[in-house]
């Protein structure tokens, strides 16, 4: 009897097929990082290079930076350069693909450094598909001895984009609050660094408390909150000139500032008489608009990527929850309905998701949900963590954690962390001091 059933179902299944062509469904593979080889770059005609330039060792440093970037993304596995067979100069012109396939590389990056007739340093790179045996991407960029890091990040972004179909996030910066001192007398300074931790610079001296800095997506400008002269207010800081100015003329505390996607407005909370509402101010015209008007705490506003909506944190229901309203303040709707408290909502630059902090049963979670509140997914759990910020390609979240402190504040420290949208590749970001309140810039090269 069983035999009949077996043949019957097999026949039903097989009658679908055409006569000569066999079709097979491939529904599995391996979810491993793509094996890649980043060859040392080749210096063409070293006699033309100045001594200072040679001392920089860019032929090693640039591929090293590219390798680190790609490795940190969790999507690439960089094969140990010690196993590379082919020399950089040949690799860049006509690589012997078998040599690279032998060490299991599926893609290979080669590069060349040239001093051109006008004495400019030109950096060339080529991305090779080792298996198909052909070049799939190539670019030439002009560099100076001081811009080589950015060149490396731009090349990394190009490789990332070509291999994943998405924009990269390596040519970006991170702004954060650098913390030092005892727990009850914390000294906080604004700091900015490259996404890989290099080029760290302090933007304020630490004489007053500074909190929650955010980037303007279109200009070299930052907004943050400062206790300058013991008046907690939102400020603007021009990164290039260092000039700071207070935002608006509010008769009370302003805080939790963010820029609109077009960089023209600042959105923030204004607290008065025990009530916090959300306001926006046009930076050019200085016109202020009140967006919420409710006796509850309304804070942590964040624009959607098209500027049409705002997500924010409100306790109008009795406890901290996430809401979405139109950018004119109308039609506010609650979108978080799970157990626990929700805070710090931030809209993804891809427009599809809202990241948030959740507090439940004494634990803090970083999670994402769709903009209608569905599909809630928690990515990581910790004793204390909050305030996620998106990378410009909407794939990676950066946030900060604090550890428990024992008696006399010993052990309590804060640090920056990043995690991929899939919940994998959780990493600590190295900073010189304790750090909190990180925010990611947009892509510097657009």
């Amino acid at each position: 009897m069983k035999k009949f059933y077996l043949t019957f179902f097999s026949i039903l299944f097989f009658t679908q097929a055409s006569f000569a062509l066999v079709k097979i469904d491939i529904t599995r593979g391996n979810l491993e990082p793509l094996p890649a080889a980043i060859s040392k770059f080749y210096m063409e005609d070293p006699s033309k290079f100045s001594a200072e330039l040679k001392a920089l060792k860019l032929e090693e440093k640039i591929p090293e930076l590219i390798s680190n970037n790609l490795k940190r993304s969790g999507l690439f596995h960089i094969i140990d350069p010690k196993s590379y067979i082919q020399s950089p100069n040949i690799a860049h012109v006509k690589p012997t693909f078998q040599d690279w396939a032998l060490i299991k590389a599926q893609i290979m990056v080669s590069g060349k450094l040239v001093i051109d007739s006008k004495k400019r340093l030109r950096v060339e790179f080529r991305l090779w598909d080792v298996i198909a045996g052909k070049e799939i991407e190539g670019l030439a960029l002009f560099a100076t001895p001081s811009s080589w890091r950015r060149i490396s990040h731009i090349i990394s972004d190009k490789i990332y984009e070509r291999m994943t179909g998405e924009l990269g996030y390596f040519d970006t910066r991170i702004i954060y609050v650098a913390e030092t001192g005892s727990k009850t007398q914390r000294v906080k300074r604004l700091a900015i660094m490259d996404q890989d931790g290099a080029n760290n610079k302090y933007l304020t001296l630490g004489n007053e408390l500074v909190l929650t800095p955010r980037f303007n997506p279109t200009a070299q400008m930052i907004t943050y909150m400062s206790y300058f002269k013991n008046l907690p207010r939102v400020y603007l800081l021009n990164i290039e000139t260092g000039m700071q100015e207070v935002v608006g003329d509010f008769p009370g505390m302003t805080f939790a500032p963010r820029f609109s996607p077009d960089g023209k407005k600042i959105i923030m909370s204004f607290a008065k008489d025990g009530n916090s509402d959300i306001y926006s101010m046009d930076i050019a015209t200085r016109v202020v608009e009140q967006l919420t008007s409710h006796p509850s705490i309304d804070t942590s506003p964040s624009y959607s990527s098209d500027g049409k909506y705002i997500t924010f944190n409100s306790d109008r229901s009795g406890a901290q929850q996430i809401y979405v309203m139109r950018s004119d303040g109308s039609n506010a709707k609650r979108i978080s309905f799970g157990e626990g408290l929700y805070g710090t909502p931030v809209w993804s630059p891809r427009g599809d998701l809202i990241a948030f902090t959740k507090i439940y049963k004494g634990s803090f979670y970083i999670g994402v949900m769709r903009s209608d509140g569905s599909g809630e997914r928690l990515l990581t759990q910790n004793y204390y963590q909050e305030a996620p910020s998106w990378s410009p390609n909407g794939r990676v979240l950066i946030f900060y954690r604090e550890t428990k402190s024992g008696k006399s504040g010993i052990g309590g420290s804060s640090s920056l962390w990043s995690i991929d949208l899939t919940g994998y590749n959780e990493r600590k970001i190295k900073t010189l001091t304790d750090a909190s309140d990180p925010a990611w810039s947009g892509l510097l090269s657009k």
């Binding site: 079709k23 469904d25 491939i26 391996n30 598909d129 179909g165 569905s374």
Partner: protein, 271 residues
Amino acid sequence: MYKSVSLSVLFHVVFVIATIVSLPFVKKEPITAQQLIAIDIIQISEKTQLPFAPKAREIIEKIKKEKEKRVVTKQAPPKITPKEKPKAIPLPDKLKIKSEEEKKKQNPEEIKELNRQSSEFEKKELFDPNKISALIDKSKEETAEIQKKQSLELTQNQDSSVDLNKGITLSQEDAIKAQIYKCWNIPLGLPFDQNLLVRIRLTLRPNGSITSSEILDHARMNQPGQGFYKVLAESALRAVKLCDPLKMPTTGYEKWKDLQLNFDAKEMLKG
């Protein structure tokens, strides 16, 4: 503050002592020494070599085959229906990740078994079309069409000249799949809610080496907004190249010389 702490400690000590003293489950019964049982160790192999009656042997082999059949058909993926879009992004919490890792660990074992089986079947096909046509030839009286009727009688009405199983057997198909699975490095950055199907047509030589490979939706690769499709298609092409030459069955070249591989990353990326 210290007064209350010491009071608290005192009460806790009292409680602990009380539990030890009074609650029944704390009491254990004295362990009695177990009686030793003498065991004779017999080599089982001696027993199983006993000559069975010929008919009995036939029955045993039949049972074995059916067991193996069951294992194989479990692996068969007759997913012709289009895949649905997931309604919610599922939770990749730590527990789920662990179970997925376990599943992945298990998969290679299963594949290995199939490989072993496929080499055996060059000699004795599990799903032998000849045997089935032998069954069918017995009852040629009814001539109703297969497509219309969906009943058990169908199996007896087939014309024996039509190829019933699309050119290769289930186990041969699984063997090919197993090879491609190992070669396919799925790009990790793909969005999980898009159409992630890439169809590649291959032509093969008798030794399994590939003479040509073609992406069927080639035009889609260069469309704006379909960057991820290009990435996926290229990963599939790399998989095919890495697996070249494929280990194909030694017979039936005419049946499998044209292969179409439908790469679908949805299952893996859905998480």
